[in-house]
């Protein structure tokens, strides 16, 4: 098992995996938060539309969504020609962000619902504005409640990133696959599994720290 050859190759694969992971986390969480606010807004039309969006994103395979963004969008009637995303990575990342945004929206909504209504009342009698109540009282508590679910979602994401190989990108899994094809040594998969495990474990560890920090 020539680890000294495999590991550098696998590390280059990890680069794409991690890049996709961080871009998705960094953009899908704010997207999810916006979706939550729209979903819980008083306007029933907006709420319906966002509800429908979340339903589609959670109800269809992420792989299909990746294909759709990369291959399907250009064939859309009328607007198709403006929706050509040439860069495979960008197309994949957009699908991931749209998909994970919907999941985070659901997680945040759950957190929002479990903030006690007495908190809103206390804020109101103390003369806080709606915006101040939201940023100082509701969001911190919502975030704390949602943390375990966010952590869970992040670990799922690190494994989901492998789906991006479907549009021809080379991540950790793809590198491993080609090593196996070339050398016929199945043990390369075991090494790749170790890589994923290390990343998942590191995430779990980081989220434990964050949870500690936000404990109250």
């Amino acid at each position: 098992m020539p680890l000294n050859e495999w590991i550098p190759q696998m590390l280059t694969g990890c680069e794409l995996t991690l890049k996709l992971f961080f871009i998705t986390i960094a953009l899908s969480m704010p997207l999810g938060l916006c979706l939550t606010f729209l979903y819980t807004s008083k306007n029933p039309v907006i709420s319906r539309i966002v509800g429908f969006y979340i339903l589609i994103m959670r109800g269809t395979p992420l792989l299909l969504q990746i294909f759709f963004v990369y291959f399907g969008l250009p064939y859309m009637p009328l607007v198709g020609k403006y929706l050509v995303i040439k860069d495979r990575f960008n197309a994949g990342a957009i699908a991931f962000i749209l998909n994970y945004g919907a999941y985070f929206a659901e997680i945040f909504r759950g957190g929002l619902l479990s903030v006690d209504k007495g908190q809103y009342e206390a804020a109101k009698v103390l003369g806080l504005t709606d915006m101040q109540t939201r940023t100082k009282i509701v969001l911190p508590q919502m975030f704390r409640i949602a943390l375990p679910a966010i952590s869970n979602e992040a670990i799922i994401l690190i494994k989901d990133t492998a789906l991006i190989t479907a549009i021809g990108l080379t991540d950790l899994l793809k590198v491993t696959q080609s090593i196996v094809n070339r050398t016929t040594q199945i043990s390369a998969f075991v090494v790749a599994a170790a890589f994923y495990l290390v990343m998942s474990y590191a995430l779990t560890f980081v989220f434990k720290l964050i949870e500690k920090k936000f404990e109250y």
Binding site: D116, G118, Q119, E121, A122, K124, V125, L126, G127, L128, T129, Q132, K136, I137, P140, Q141, R144, F214, Y216
Partner: protein, 245 residues
């Protein structure tokens, strides 16, 4: 200071407040009594716009919070209620902030002074309720009685003229009610105007100068403790008193 006329409020088909009148002068301590479900909380909450009345007037310091069931714009409501504070049965402290931040948040947000002045005021108010040593504790580390005293201190940070209390001791173990009632007694000595929903008849008799007895959405009695508790002549009131004493 506060005048309420013919206040009405229903939740769907449930008429909770049918016709409530009340006049509160500066320095009055009004105990609000009545059976459970008689609308005490709804009434108190309507005085600070946590419930919207359907009809009648609420006048605070000469200004209409509610006129014939109609309310002014948010901004105006806020200005009218600027001098009214409230304390809840379940304290509603902000669990993610320490005690000092709980106290300082509202005055900071409303730009009531410099950070240093507000911090000094926070310490002063905590000292007043006997909890100066808890400045940097988190709410979850306090007993119920301590939490309620912090909640009172937090409301006092905005220098209210009127304080509303909704069963401030009902969520507490019996041995912890005394410390909270003592703080309320102190406030009454400082001439704070207060409306207190309570089941502590002894406290009401001794600390309040007026008692409002609600029953079935109506004012069953309003007057001095002697008038309401001893000589009301109302069977409902006597039956209620017998039950809670």
């Amino acid at each position: 200071m506060i005048e309420v006329r013919h206040l009405k409020k229903s939740f769907g088909s449930l008429h909770v407040l049918r016709d409530i009148d009340l006049k509160v002068e500066k320095g009055d301590v009004v105990a609000i009594l009545g059976p459970s479900g008689s609308g005490k909380s709804t009434f108190l909450r309507s005085l600070i716009d946590l419930e919207e009345a359907d009809g009648g007037d609420i006048i605070i310091d000469g200004k209409y919070l509610c006129k014939d069931g109609k309310y002014p714009k948010n901004k105006e409501k806020k200005a009218i209620l600027d001098k009214t504070g409230m304390v809840f049965q379940h304290f509603n402290l902000f669990p993610h902030m320490d005690i000092e931040k709980n106290l300082m948040l509202a005055p900071l947000m409303q730009k009531k002074g410099s950070r240093a002045d507000i911090a000094a005021l926070a310490l002063e108010m905590l000292t007043k309720v006997g909890l100066a040593d808890k400045l940097h504790e988190m709410p979850k580390n306090l007993s119920g009685g301590q939490k309620q005293r912090v909640a009172i201190a937090r409301a006092l940070m905005l220098k209210p003229d009127v304080m509303l209390f909704d069963e401030p001791t009902s969520a507490l173990d019996p041995e912890l009610t005394g410390e909270v009632l003592n703080v309320i007694r102190e406030l009454s000595k400082e001439n704070m105007t207060m409306l207190i929903v309570t089941h502590e008849i002894g406290f009401a008799r001794e600390a309040a100068n007026k008692i409002l007895f609600l029953d079935g959405g109506y004012t069953a009695a309003f007057g001095s403790p002697e008038e309401v508790l001893e000589n009301s002549g109302s069977e409902r009131i006597n039956a209620f008193l017998k039950k809670v004493l």
